[in-house]
Assembly symmetry: C2
Homo-oligomer: 184 residues x 2
């Protein structure tokens, strides 16, 4: 009953119009035939998937602030990254991105579960990891990313959840909050 | 400090290449000049925004299951809808979509806060509402949507959160969970 997702058995592809092949996204206009026979048109954005990390260190969660031109704002987010190395397992991508974005290695990465970002239009699936047992690592920030690391005390987690406007980060923080409450 | 989002003052647009105008999404390749002078290229998916509702009735949350061809799965989600009527306030859109998708009117719609779905690439901002004081309304389900209403007891909210894979629905359910725990 509580089946969060299950394959659409017998879903057929009646047509696929390639609109765009980009650096980050692709766009195709698809025509699917459902098991019941109805043919539906869908604008589908291709994406390789991503990881988001909830790094906890000394009773702080390590956030990042960065410019998001598509929405015209500097957003406070959890560190994250695209699965842009073919064949790289999500947990290795998480390790790599954590080093790149916040300059930490993680002794433990625990899978908190994943989710589709916008399943009506976007293929992206994000794997979410709790990162603990952190240690500094040498890293070369990518200048274009203009990432500022913002450690936030766990005692301010409620206020942080009220402020954050990025979906993947909200999910990571709300999952952390749920876990901390369960332990309290 | 805990500033979830703030405008990028002085962000300039150096170039805009229109790639696609669709029924649901648009695609543009943009070149922005940041305040510091760096010009960055971004693939930007235009979207009018959306609403997601957390409808609670008789100690149940009303979920919907529907086919999401873009990811090839039937997903269990909260009811939601696009802001596709120009000028319609989000709360009115929430009211309309709640009637269309689950056949309920809401005596109370409380704003739980909004979020960007995928701010690196997608303009979509989703407004999230807690819907209570529900009553049945006449409604004509849209056959193409093939929406099945799935009421889930609030006592199973934890199991539901572990199952759901749709980002907007996870945020709505985790916010509901947080609120119920704060009241307990």
């Amino acid at each position: 009953m509580l089946d969060g997702g299950r394959p659409i058995a017998g879903l057929g592809v009646e047509g696929a119009e390639q609109v765009y092949r980009g650096e980050v996204v692709d766009l195709d206009v698809m025509r699917y035939r459902r098991p019941g026979g109805l043919v539906v048109r869908r604008e589908v954005i291709g994406h390789p998937g991503a990881v988001v990390m909830v790094p906890v260190e000394d009773e702080h969660v390590l956030m990042v602030r960065q410019p998001r031109e598509a929405v015209g704002e500097y957003l406070l987010e959890l560190p994250a990254g695209k699965l842009d190395v073919p064949g790289e397992p999500p947990v290795e991508c998480a390790r790599r991105e954590l080093a790149e974005e916040v300059g930490r290695s993680a002794g433990a990465l625990e899978d908190l579960g994943g989710f589709y970002t916008a399943p009506a239009i976007l293929e992206e699936y994000i794997h979410c990891f709790l990162a603990t047992d952190l240690a500094p690592v040498a890293h070369e920030p990518i200048p274009e990313e203009e990432i500022e690391v913002v450690p936030v005390p766990l005692r301010d987690l409620g206020a942080l959840i009220d402020e954050v406007r990025d979906a993947k980060s909200l999910i990571g923080l709300l999952r952390l909050d749920r876990r901390l409450r369960a332990r309290a």
